[in-house]
């Protein structure tokens, strides 16, 4: 399914999960809605289960009681047990989900659940009090929310109508019209800029990234025309050996300074970790970034410094994520300090 739901008036959304009391996706306490389906295929992706735009099963070993009902019920014979647990033959699997429905212990779990906008909004409103107290709200993330634009619009519109702060976390890889649909109901845009070099971008994400930059430039025009109706934060994943060159950070900074001039208020550098390795295992994917290691603390500090210098005035650079205390790039040693200096303000 490309965009879920055919009737734009009654769209259904395919949602990976709703994470309540989320503290890392915008201001305050938020509920983050992870959409399923993404046009990019970043090799470092932390949520590989969010990339395919259809429900999928995966196996959670810690819950499995070994009853084998899943194997019995699978019409495609796509399941078998091995020494390392349940093996799902992804070629044979048709995502019929019979196994997950039969599994008594949710060890065969479905990634992806259908929501109507009303049901989703009702669920999100349960934390209204916490949103109000923290000046938080709801973040649509993913996956890629712009892949389900009708649904996303309904949800955002409804939340706005209830006075809830909304954030849209996007990779920017979509036709401009979709962003144009969603921006009027968005208070904060979290926009990924990963790599400025088109070839590297293509190599690591599958697409060249020019549309991402074009869209961001149009968002700038949109903001200027409407006198800054929304706040923009740029986010950059700092992946060792992939996006963590000072050159790349400075190039992104230059884009923020020159192209976005004055419309971006914050730039978040998010350091890589490999804690999602088990998800790749569950999906039967051999993850290339498994052994990337943590970003060295000193390097992260240098990048934050480069970011501050290059992004220009008025952009708060914020670095987060686990870092390693030494320069080594191998398996991370016991970390000594996980929080790099936070909230560094650009020198004036």
């Amino acid at each position: 399914m490309k965009t879920a739901g055919h009737d734009p008036e009654k769209p259904k959304g395919l949602i990976l999960r709703v994470q309540r009391m989320s503290t890392e996706d915008g201001p305050g306490i938020r509920s983050t809605v992870f959409f399923k389906g993404c046009p990019l295929q970043c090799v470092w992706c932390h949520n590989p289960e969010s990339i395919p735009g259809r429900p999928q099963v995966h196996w959670v070993g810690s819950r499995c009681i070994g009853c084998l009902s899943c194997i019995e019920v699978c019409p495609e014979n796509a399941l078998k047990t091995t020494d390392s647990g349940m093996e799902i033959d992804r070629q044979a699997c048709t995502d019929c989900l019979c196994c997950a429905q039969t599994c008594p212990s949710t060890a065969m779990e479905i990634y992806g659940r259908c929501f109507s906008p009303e049901d989703l909004v009702n669920e999100l409103m349960k934390d209204r009090v916490y949103f109000e107290q923290s000046k938080g709200g709801v973040t649509l993330s993913g996956g890629e929310p712009t892949r389900q634009p009708d649904f996303a619009r309904k949800v955002l519109e409804s939340l706005k109508g209830k006075g809830i702060h909304t954030a849209l976390d996007t990779c920017g890889q979509c036709p401009w019209e979709r962003l144009e649909m969603l921006l009027p109901f968005t208070d904060l845009l979290l926009y990924d800029l990963k790599l400025m070099d088109e070839e590297l971008h293509r190599g690591y994400t599958g697409l060249c990234g020019s549309q991402i930059q074009r869209n961001l430039a149009r968002i700038r025009d949109y903001c200027r025309k409407l006198h800054n109706p929304l706040e923009i934060w740029v986010r950059t994943p700092v992946i060792p050996g992939h996006t963590d060159s000072e050159e790349n950070i400075r190039a992104i900074g230059a884009f923020i300074r020159d192209t976005m001039a004055g419309t971006v208020s914050r730039w978040e550098l998010c350091a890589f970790n490999n804690l999602c390795a088990h998800k790749y295992d569950g999906l039967g994917i051999n993850w290339k970034c498994r052994d990337c290691g943590l970003v060295a603390q000193g390097h992260m500090e240098r990048l934050a410094q480069a970011a501050s210098e290059s992004a220009g005035r008025g952009v708060i650079v914020h670095a987060s994520g686990a870092t390693a205390g030494t320069e080594s790039r191998g398996h991370p040693p016991a970390p000594e300090r996980s929080c790099p200096p936070a909230g560094r303000e650009t020198p004036r």
């Binding site: 994470q19 309540r20 009391m21 989320s22 503290t23 890392e24 305050g28 306490i29 932390h46 959670v60 810690s62 819950r63 009681i65 009853c67 009902s69 008594p104 212990s105 949710t106 349960k126 934390d127 009090v129 916490y130 109000e132 107290q133 923290s134 000046k135 938080g136 998010c270 350091a271 970790n273 490999n274 804690l275 999602c276 390795a277 088990h278 295992d281 987060s320 994520g321 686990a322 991370p332 016991a334 970390p335 000594e336 300090r337 996980s338 929080c339 936070a342 909230g343």
Partner: protein, 839 residues
């Protein structure tokens, strides 16, 4: 500020005391030398010398199952260790309360040594005693018959516990004595009041029990004066010998203080703290019960006038804190009671609770300079256990206080502290007023002066004994009985003697599994069994309560609780104005989830019959693993903010609460009221109660207080919080509710613990988010909250027992993962990181 330094320094692993003067450092270090100290406050035992004499009151430990095997040993060893007190020649002509008052006074004033430690600013050292019950031979024989008989209190309590119902016993401590009145009037004022009342009695009353009680209380009321006099004498002697001029001045001043207080009203802060300490320690002497739950109430309110006065008179603020720090160290000497053995099953802090901050009249915030001074004292002395702080928060709590609270949460290793939520708590107290028809004593005008005792058990102060730990009932027992027609699943086999006791028809016959055809049938069976187990608990309590009322007066404590002098009744006989006993429900969430699973599996989705489910439970799920998995993973659960599941929680709550309000003790007229504390029983009783329909096998922990079953709250802390608030009643659809729009069916309050990842407090931005979470919790959540920071120990436990930690979300600065779903290698890495983050 000192607090900020600790946070900024990532090298600090264990919290260390700081900003301590040489005096306080010495006292603190000396205290922590433990058994190697030359001085300690170990129990001393005192007897009338009669062969039938008893010192140890076992009933007060009926709620501590760990002690059951040792009750006889305690009794005998105290007897053996007891020193004989030379009795007044007419001692045996007096009434029991008079004998008791005289003996305790004699022991404390003339036998227990008085000592003052070097540098200490507060006098009042030894107070842990086990004293004669002062019974005549006839009284001792009668009491022993009631305790040890075949249907006596001990056998009954043991049966109750062995069969998984829980425990119950008339327990000491657990109240807020009227300390404020002592500071204002002095003991002289109390004594005068008693004397006037006594003189007002007619001759017959004087001869009777009322006269005896008032005479006993007068004797007790003079005890603090006499003991203060002893200490004053000692201090004068020490001052005479002292070479250091500064110390000499202090000793002289301390002696002067004690020549004045606690007999006269306090004039200065130093006098007030001294009077408070002597008065407090004697409560523990009087009850022979060190610490547990003898709470100070709103100490930052009633000490404030003295603090402000002394500061205005030139007292250095740091010196004021120095006085408080001495007071703090004194409070910790309760633990000396059995210093060479252990703490008689008391595994956590004793809970001499202090209440800080909170709401005043008209919603005003009462935080003041003394609140902050006390928080500084706690911070500077930490880690230290007593007195345990409970900070009252409300919608008007100042940002400065909230900031301090958040800082304390982030550095609270080893020093637990609790938060109380005023609005919800006050709603519960107002509900109590209405239910028990005591609106003249608890109302809009004074409900803000409530305070918690022990941990979080809400009461009023100075006129209230609510027996907040006395009855602990496993609601889950009624599920077992409902599934099995009112009978236990199994014969009981005594683990020590191996003696087998056949299953018998304990509860009402509510039909066997086959006959319960619909959910409504099952629910009505459950409801009848719930009423039955509550009745059982009430009957059991009556045994120890009536024995205590006849044989165990505490005339000194009675002086400190309004109502006793007025009625001429000891507090143990129901003398308090607010005369409650609390039924603390244990296993709430396990019960709710069990009912949800029964409805889901048997009646809604028909995945098994009730008979099959009973068979599975009797087999402890062996051979029924699929059914167990369905119950565990596919049935709805309380704690996820799922309205349907939370409606079940409300139904369970309403049922047992309403039933609880129907009962009163016969002997003492104490009204039962509902609460949820559940201390550590949810751990131990998990090995007694059989497998439960929620998927739990025998031996796995039950649920704690009002918390969701460990690991069931997979939608995070806000969902957990919302479920708890809903279980208590939520908010009124319209109108004022119980108080300010809030509803709360548990006047006692409910213990609620949440675990948080330390990364949530890693920088100012995230601390603000956490503060907002607390503010949201005030509106949405329960009566109290304890926040535990996830640490390496918890994660190691999660590796061992993943089933209890399904919901454990670890946040590694920006990345969240359910801990139990990631591989061992990564788990170890998370542990390494989190150990570091909690620095």
């Amino acid at each position: 500020m000192a607090m900020a330094e600790a946070l900024d320094d990532p090298g600090k692993k264990i919290k260390k005391p700081k900003n301590l003067s040489p005096r306080i450092r010495w006292l603190r270090d000396y205290y922590f030398q433990g058994t190697s100290r030359a001085w300690n406050n170990e129990f001393t035992a005192w007897t009338t010398g009669m062969p039938w004499d008893v010192q140890f009151d076992e009933m007060t430990f009926y709620i501590v199952p760990e002690t059951y095997a040792f009750l006889q040993t305690f009794r005998s060893s105290m007897q053996q260790a007891a020193h004989t007190v030379k009795l007044d020649p007419v001692f045996w002509t007096w009434s029991l309360p008079e004998r008791k008052a005289w003996l305790i006074r004699e022991v404390m004033v003339n036998h227990v040594p008085c000592e003052v430690l070097p540098g200490d600013l507060i006098a009042g050292g030894r107070f842990n005693i086990q004293t004669s019950m002062c019974w005549t031979k006839k009284e001792a024989r009668e009491r022993d018959r009631l305790i040890y008989g075949r249907k006596g209190a001990r056998a009954s309590m043991k049966w109750f516990h062995d069969h998984g119902y829980g425990n119950s016993g008339a327990t000491s401590g657990h109240l807020i004595p009227g300390y404020e009145r002592i500071l204002n009037l002095g003991w002289k004022g109390i004594y005068e009041d008693l004397r006037r009342r006594y003189e007002f009695l007619d001759a017959k009353e004087k001869k009777g029990s009322t006269g005896a009680q008032l005479r006993a209380m007068m004797t007790a009321a003079a005890m603090p004066r006499d003991l203060a006099g002893k200490y004053a004498g000692l201090l004068e002697k020490l001052a005479g010998e002292e070479q250091d001029l500064l110390r000499k001045t202090e000793l002289v001043r301390m002696a002067e203080n004690l020549r004045h207080v606690p007999w006269e009203p306090a004039r200065t802060f130093w006098e007030a703290v001294q009077a408070l300490w002597i008065t407090h320690m004697l409560v523990m002497s009087d009850e022979n019960y060190p610490g547990p739950g003898v709470s100070f109430g709103r100490i930052d309110q009633y000490l404030l006038p003295y603090w402000e006065h002394s500061i205005a008179q030139g007292m250095d603020r740091e010196f004021g804190k120095e006085i408080l720090k001495c007071f703090w160290i004194h409070a910790n000497t309760v633990y000396d009671a059995m210093i060479r053995i252990g703490n008689m099953g008391i595994t956590s802090g004793y809970g001499q609770l202090i209440t800080l901050s909170g709401m005043g009249r008209d919603g005003r915030d009462m935080t003041n300079d003394l609140t902050y001074a006390m928080l500084e004292v706690i911070d500077e002395l930490s880690p230290i256990l007593e007195p345990k702080p409970n900070i009252r928060l409300h919608k008007g709590s100042p940002e400065e206080l909230l900031d301090k609270v958040v800082d304390m949460v982030s550095t609270s290793q080893g020093s637990p502290f609790l938060l109380n939520f005023d609005e919800r708590s006050m709603a519960g107290m107002m509900r109590e007023a209405k239910k028990a028809c005591v609106e003249h004593l608890i109302n809009e005008g004074n409900v803000h002066d409530y305070a918690p005792v022990g941990c979080l058990e809400n009461t009023m102060a100075g006129n209230d004994r609510s027996g907040t730990v006395d009855n602990n009932l496993n609601l889950l027992k009624s599920v077992e009985l409902a599934l099995n027609d009112g009978k236990d699943f199994f014969d009981f086999v005594d683990p020590i003697t191996g003696k087998r006791e056949k299953v018998r028809q304990a509860g009402p016959r509510t039909g066997d599994a086959a006959s319960l055809r619909s959910w409504e049938d099952f629910w009505s069976a459950y409801a009848r069994q719930t009423k039955f187990i509550i009745k059982q608990c009430v009957e059991l309590y009556e045994k120890s309560e009536s024995i205590r009322a006849r044989f165990c007066p505490t005339p000194y404590v009675s002086c400190l609780v309004k109502g006793c002098a007025e009625k001429g009744l000891d507090i143990t006989q129901g003398g308090a104005e607010l005369n409650f006993t609390t039924l603390e429900a244990v296993t709430f969430a396990t019960t709710v989830d069990s009912l949800l699973a029964i409805r889901h599996l048997v009646y809604d989705t028909k995945q098994c019959t009730l008979q099959e489910l009973v068979k599975a439970l009797k087999a402890n799920w062996q051979g029924f693993e699929k059914l167990q998995a369905l119950a565990t993973y596919k049935a709805p659960k309380y704690g996820r903010d799922d309205d349907e599941a939370d409606a079940m929680a409300r139904a369970v709550m309403d049922l047992w609460c309403e039933e609880t309000w129907r009962h009163r003790t016969r002997s003492t007229g104490r009204q039962f009221r509902p609460g949820m504390l559940s201390w550590n029983y949810w751990v131990g009783d998990g090995f007694i109660l059989p497998a439960s329909p929620d998927g739990r096998p025998k031996g796995r922990f039950l649920s704690n207080a009002i918390c969701p079953v460990s690991g069931a709250d997979i939608n995070g802390p806000t969902a957990n919080m919302n479920s708890v608030g809903k279980a208590l009643g939520g908010k009124a659809e319209k109108g004022p509710g119980d108080w300010g729009g809030y509803l709360n069916c548990l006047p006692n309050g409910a213990s609620h613990t949440i675990s948080m990842s330390p990364s949530l407090l890693r920088d100012p931005e995230h601390k603000e988010k956490f503060k907002a979470f607390l503010k949201g919790s005030l509106e949405q959540g329960g009566t109290s909250l304890q926040v535990n920071m996830i640490d390496a120990a918890m994660l190691h436990d999660a590796q061992r027992r993943p089933e209890g930690y399904q919901s454990l979300l670890v946040r590694i600065t920006g990345y969240n993962a359910y801990f139990t779903t990631i591989g061992r290698e990564l788990q170890n890495e998370v542990i390494a990181r989190i150990s570091h983050e909690s620095l």
